[in-house]
Symmetry: D2
Subunit: 399 residues, 4 copies
């Protein structure tokens, strides 16, 4: 069961002070971050520039009982003023649209504030690489909130593959196919439908990035080449709303990634299936407590959160006994919990890297941006196999 | 989507201050309460007598960053001292074994502190009735944490039945059949296995109470008579470890309740099936996001949390969009959220009863204690049909 | 994989000749018997008194290409004439309502014709016992078509329990709860709703018998005492439409059997759950290819038809590789196949008893009739525990 | 419910006489054909060249009680001799490896014998086109046994899409990913692993053909272009063992087809998901009784075989009431049943085309061979988009 990091918290003597940029009252993802960061009692929300709309910014901050003098409408002002306070924030949560991530992250990073950033990492690969360099230079802790990797059974999948239980990985299937229905009378203004956010391939940032990250996370394999077929089905849309990617992984595995807005009828749509020489794993985000392990010639095993037979990584991500579904918010909370421990440990001059091993960081974000970049180029060339651009110096391998 | 009670919190100006009795570091249920009460940011844990063991009490409280002067080892001292403070606790959470509930609840109630109490309500029916009278006399808000009724889809089931979608209810099946394996070398000291907690029928308090409460909650029907067959399968046990109850409900419905410790292999084991003249509902706690509605002669409908077609009660209990499983902690959090709103509203002299309508209270606890009392008597008489003892004056109907 | 009994068929030199009594064109169960007996190519349908209505009898027989001179409307005439032929039928299929089973079976048995009989065995326990005596005296092979025991995974459940995989059996749950909707304008004339068929408890013959037989079959345990609560919910009905039975098995296991017509929304409704000291089994007829085995403290195993790890009994009942669902008709066909092999072997003076070991016989029918008899008496006495009447001489144990 | 074609059978006066080529005792698919053709009592197996091995041929035929003088070892001799008999076979079942299909079919077709042929249609596209021309010229009835289209819920899917319930189709996902484990000590000699059967892309004939046919069947859409990525993972194999196809359909839909031998752990692996503007359908062969219909913004509907709300096509393919799983053999039997009716009707000079509308014919086979041909070419060109070769004159559209 989850150790609540009691000793670290006691040593640190207080909760992590956090400020929010974006994620105001009208934001779905903002609500989610708040629930996730509260769950384990490791954070205090003390500052926020939660909207560019001053009224929304104020109302959102008041709802969190943030003091008047720490409610901001401009993230640069917030970075400046917070840096000047004795009780300054330790970390900032960036929940704005992706085209602002680079600027916001840069502003706080320079003040020595650690970073929790929504996916996709940035507007494009170039920004991602520059942000990576800055993070390395400033030696900041960086959490990219690919929340689904906080699920214990996703971590179990990663541990099982690392243990060799599946043998050499051959086929890798990941998808996040959503069903966003177009209402022409009431067009969705979300950045996911705007070319301005990250070009015509923005759906790869919004949904495709989760599919890519989760399979990379659990297999530890990186995509080398991609062949893409991207389509816009809904005439009203200025961006692609379906992307089929066929991919070649390092070491020879083959796979497919599917990101879609037109999977009508789907509630969520994230899943993976990994096939190795000796067995396979299947996981569906909508039943996150269960991981199916099917070994060649054996009955399927229904592995579930809380079981004694699971890996330390899964056990450490678990709060309740089996059969009490922990759900999405607590998966998300696992990322926040690991980040808080790393932050406290680092500031206490204790070893902290191990807390970061299981959570997505800046290099994962760069990796996905490289895939998106290559996929858009492949699609422009009629699906030709296209290699991902890597900037190896800036990409420290995940330990 | 869930309204975060922003206006009430702003008006109240601070979070609800809460103290804990029991639920220390070695307690599974204590951890759960903490996660649940944190989720919506409506509570501050400021005091605690979390264990009778001073070391555990201290360590548990420190882990919550409770101030030294509010860490107690005796709940009576805690009630006394807290009552004397200006920043006294608003509510106490009682997470001790059931035989202490009456005493703890009484001590705090007399000081004007509202009550959040674990199930089963008390040691026996007599205590339950006396506690009920005290709660009425002191006019206290009382939450009995039958946490599973906090699930949106359980609330949807209740709303569907109230709407007449199932027609007249005929058959009611509820069960919580757990698989606690006996380890003779290492006997479980949990109160659930101790006759001292509430007699040989303690499993009806531990597991049976959830099965009874959930079907009562969703159907609004009370059990009138019970025929019980209780057994001890594991020789090492001093209490029954299996209880089959056949029950007759007011209005003519028939049903069965099953509470068990010997359902080996089960992870959790709570479910209900309700059959009416026009259709049926099925829900399994381990897949809590889904409620199956099967109308006569029609395909089954898979209703899920977050859908537009759901009742206001379900919608108000929902934080995230469909397909992002909220899980057990957020179901539990719904009880805490409703309780906090009722408490704030009452203290602000606003209408508050509506916040209590959807959460289990003292009368639900008395009702279940009456069932347990009758079931034990029936079993002693070879399964003879036995009427429940009601003390109608003390039992205000659920509005 | 299933051995098609090739050698026996070759030795016998022809298919088994079979005649039908009842089961005409307007009969659901008749169609099922025909598909089941055809599947393995071991039967020729050559005679029939398929309805008391001459037109239906003729049309039904012609549809099976039965010769004109072997189409009958009276089963006694059929027994007489068939017995006089050189190419006489080897076996008769009795698919009439239950109150005729005794008479029809007696008529053919006396002519040396073997018997395939629909459930429930007879109108009442007395008839069942007398029929049993006749079958023993005439030394006839008798198949009672409790078709669900032909499923490979039901046979696997039996083999697993016999192997001790579950340890001592403690709780036994069986149910067949159907949802037959009442249409007052168009009442169902099926015998299942007629008191004349077997009294007010006829639903125990129609649906309850399957629930009882299947759990007896797989556990090998017989019910000793029953406590019954039977109800008529639909006013239009002259019989009970819901029966809750709590039962005590020999050796100490406890269980519940549920037979219902009012489980509105159910498609079929047969399932069992068996809990032993070491593990449990769950099977649902509507997903018949899968048997869930859950051992204490271990992940659930999804056992499926066709797997290499299954018992000889399951393997011998299997035609196709895993993942090609065999379904209900081939389960039924397994009973027909075993019966045909027994019949051929017996007539070839070969050992034949082993073919009968896995299929329901006359003693199973007597056993269920004893349960029904005791359940009705218990219900009449307000649910008092009532012992089953056994006539041990007439009840040879299943080997 | 299924009408058993009683009148046609009575008019025809006898069952369809059928001969088998291939499919002997050592053949899995042979056993399946036998069960399928027996189920509805419309066929008599009277002749066979069931193996090239004389002993296997003889034993296989004897097991079916075929007369000595109609047991053959050479299909040409069989065609010759059968054609000369008065009681000649009406139809031949071709269950040999694909490279023999053309020759066998030609031999019998010329004698006026109708054809039931296993998939894939032929060794290559050229053969397929020539066979198509021969079938048209000889005016023969031709059933290609893509057995999965016999499932009632697959036919329901087709009817739903034809009715417009999904709106314009956008994404089409079909797969048959099997997990055939390589045993180097005991290599599988099945044609599915032999380059000689149909080249290195033989897996597209063995498994890919089912995925392609089923989505074509239900959507009525033909593939125009394909981009293929084919791989050999198991070094021991002389053929590809994984094929990822991205496809463009006529009218703008996009899709993916996956055929694999390396989906380790899968029992079977056939499924489809079809997404239209208004809703989606999901079906998995291993739970064939259920078709999920998810309309935009509505709860998922669980449609099941036997429901009153289904289309005439599904109803006509159904034998038993809902909840009695019909399974694979009866799906297969639906093809046999429709073929028999067409054959009888045609020979009775009655309209017969409607019986063929729902079953796969020669043009379906040509269509899949064109896909395979283009996929192999695309793969050879590094996944370039490759148009399918059509020979429109020879390809009468499915009416």
């Amino acid at each position: 069961m989850k150790r609540m990091s009691i000793d670290l918290l006691s040593q640190f003597g207080r909760r992590v002070r956090v400020g929010l940029v974006g994620g105001g009252k009208d934001s779905v993802i903002g609500r989610t971050h708040l629930v996730a960061m509260r769950a384990d009692g490791l954070y205090d929300v003390v500052a926020g520039a939660m909207s560019v709309d001053p009224e929304v910014a104020r109302a959102s901050a008041q709802a969190e009982l943030i003091d008047e003098d720490r409610i901001y409408t401009d993230f640069r002002v917030m970075a400046e003023r917070e840096a000047a306070r004795e009780d300054r924030i330790d970390a900032v949560v960036i929940a704005t649209p992706p085209q602002l991530h680079f600027e916001v992250a840069s502003a706080f990073m320079e003040k020595g504030i650690d970073l929790i950033c929504e996916k996709p990492l940035t507007r494009d690969l170039g920004e991602a690489q520059r942000l990576n360099e800055l993070v390395q230079r400033h030696d900041r802790i960086f959490l990219l909130t690919h929340c689904y990797t906080g699920y214990p059974m996703v971590r179990e999948a990663r541990a099982l593959i690392a243990s060799g239980a599946l043998g050499k990985i051959q086929c890798i299937e990941g998808e996040l196919c959503a069903g966003f229905v177009v209402d022409p009378q009431n067009p969705d203004r979300h950045w996911r439908f705007r070319e301005s956010a990250m070009g015509k391939g923005v759906l790869l940032g919004e949904v495709g990035s989760h599919a890519h990250h989760i399979v990379s996370y659990i297999t530890g394999l990186r995509v080398e080449e991609v062949s893409a077929e991207m389509t816009t089905f809904a005439e009203e849309r200025e961006v692609y709303d379906n992307a089929y990617l066929t991919v070649r992984f390092e070491g020879g595995a083959r796979g497919r990634l599917w990101g879609s807005y037109v999977a009508v009828g789907n509630d969520h749509g994230l899943s993976f299936r990994i096939f190795g020489e000796k067995g396979s794993l299947t996981w569906v985000q909508e039943e996150p407590e269960v991981l199916w392990f099917k070994a060649a010639g054996k009955p399927a095993l229904r592995l579930a959160r809380g079981y004694n037979c699971l890996s330390p990584a899964a056990a450490a991500s678990t709060r309740f006994t089996a059969g009490h579904p922990e759900g999405y918010a607590l998966a998300f909370a696992n990322l926040y919990s690991d980040f808080a421990k790393a932050l406290m440990a680092k500031r206490l001059d204790l070893p902290y890297q191990s807390y970061l091993d299981g959570i997505p960081g800046i290099s994962d974000g760069v990796d996905t941006m490289a895939l998106i970049d290559a996929a858009v180029r492949s699609n422009d060339k009629g699906g030709a196999w296209t290699a991902l651009t890597r900037q190896e110096i800036g990409l420290p391998g995940r330990s």
